[in-house]
């Protein structure tokens, strides 16, 4: 498996306050890595560091083998060209229509691209997320699930190598959340996309996770394949995933 993101001895937090320390893990291409942990354990903080919004307190983050320099605008721009981010609140610009929101990265990064090509690209992505009919609506006119799908379309519009998703299922009913999971699985399978997903939706984790990164007690509790998670007989993991400690862990990933 080819590594896309590598993290070494990473300490993250705000100012001098360390939220998580000594993180070491690697994210491979064409896999879905899920970050889980209790509320307030620092899941979103790690994500912010990985996407360049929060400089680490110490440690290193490598992107495609290159060390990230948070003080260098060039390094950040290189990162931003290769990632897509799906925010918890969708973060669509409310003053733009759905079409304009999804076209925004194209317009801004490739202003010379012919309008007809741009239209094709946006319509294709809108169709993939099932929102082509709603392309002229404003975000305020969309449901939570539609906004999330639209935000995912915007995140993938320029074919990033990796998509970071911050609690994509939050505020969604199980059916809509399941639809979003299906979409991510399809994008992984058919387009070879890599996902890093912060969530604590157990159903979602079971469905999409190739690897799981469990955070607890200010550090990394477990990082490895989801299928191995329940062979550990770890009390925190079993409690978190609502497993009976005496289960024989017959369940395997579907």
């Amino acid at each position: 498996m080819k590594e896309i993101v590598g993290v070494k001895n990473l300490h993250v937090g705000y100012g001098d306050y360390v939220v998580l320390k000594d993180l070491n893990f690697a994210i491979n291409l064409e896999e879905i890595t899920v970050i889980v942990g209790k509320s307030g354990c620092g899941k979103s903080t790690v994500l912010k560091s990985l996407i360049g919004l929060l400089p680490p307190i110490s440690g290193e983050i490598f992107f495609r083998g290159e060390k990230m320099d948070y003080l260098s605008e060039t390094s950040l721009q290189t990162l931003y060209k290769q990632i897509g981010v799906l925010y918890q609140n969708s973060a669509l610009l409310n003053s733009l229509t759905l079409y304009e929101n999804i076209a925004l990265p194209i317009k801004m990064r490739h202003p010379d691209l012919p309008a007809a090509i741009e239209r094709e690209m946006v319509n294709t992505r809108l169709s993939q997320v099932g929102l082509l009919e709603n392309r002229d609506k404003f975000p305020a006119e969309l449901s939570g699930g539609m906004k999330k799908r639209a935000a995912l379309a915007r995140a993938i519009i320029l074919d990033p190598a990796i998509i970071f998703c911050d609690e994509p299922s939050s505020g969604l009913d199980p059916i809509t959340a399941g639809g979003l999971d299906e979409l991510m699985l399809n994008l992984k399978e058919f387009f070879g996309l890599t996902f890093v997903v912060v969530t604590h939706e157990l159903r979602s984790i079971e469905k999409i996770a190739d690897n799981v990164l469990v955070l607890d007690n200010g550090g990394l509790h477990y990082f490895g394949p989801y299928r191995d998670l329940f062979t550990l007989k770890d009390r925190f993991i079993d409690t978190f995933f609502l497993k009976d400690i005496n289960d024989d862990y017959k369940r395997t990933k579907i």
Binding site: G52, L53, Y80, G84, Q88, L93, K107
Partner: protein, 355 residues
Amino acid sequence: MGKNVKRIQLPRRFSIDEVPGLFDEIKGVQKDTPLEIDFRDMADFDSSSIAFFNYLKKNYPHLTFTNVQPELKKILSLFSIGKDTGDPSDSRVSMAERLQAVGGKVIKFEEILKGFLVLLADEISYTFQYLLKRRGVYPGEIFNQIYFMGYNSFPIVSVIVFLIGVTISITSAEQLRDFGADIYLADLVGFGMVRELVPLMTGIILAGKVGASITAEISSMKVLEEVDALKTMGLIPEKFLMVPRLIAISLVIPLLVVLADLIGIFGGVLVAYIVSGIPPDLFFREMFTVVGLSDFFIGLMKTLVFGWIVVISSGFKGFSVERGAVGVGIATTESVVLSISLIIASDCVFALILY
């Protein structure tokens, strides 16, 4: 010899009405006195009685409960906090905290000033970059902003400057008549409006109308992670959001100033004709002996500076928002206050330089 045991027999009904009496009885007991609480008769209790037992457990180390029913034991354990968390903090602010807050504000001022100047420098650089390369701003956004700023501001600016023109004419006409100098009303109104009142009032109205909306919009975008989304799309939010507004305000202000000058002076002409009987042609002939094209350009330049102050202050407050929805309200109010304060301060500097 050990101390005498203090025994307390709980009543059949021990609830919030009985707690104060028993609390008073216990208050006089030394902490190291062995205390025995007998539950034999107690059949009815509430959460205040359990709070009372918890208080005893924390404060009387030699405490024993006797004849406790198993059900009650379970309830007592359910209501046990486990550890003493101390007194809750007082939401009222003490004098020391107030003084600390004042000191903190003084220290923070340096950071704010630095942040403001950095944003100002960045915006100047981004605006020139945009003018040279035409990149980094959403297509058509400048025209949207021109429409929004001009359309929203023109009616209110017109009404306010007209009323100010009328007001200063009425109040000055009376004074000038006493000296037989009615005609100088034209100089006063013309010079006052063009050089001072139109720029100042336009700036203040822009702060309230345009500035507040810029801050509210940017701070909401920040709270809703839209600013982060722009960053991770590889855009510079300070450029993407601010440059169209800076360019738009630079284009809207000359129009606003011309119209405001005309409407303000028209108010003065109207009053001069009605109150002092000065015909409009005489008014303008007198006014132009004092007011020249240079005064118009000075007024225009001042208004442009005030407009830039409004946009930069509003953006600065919008980008520095914290604490979610509450922060949006605070930032919006602060941006108007900051803009108006800076407008008046810079007007004072202009007065010192230009007069």
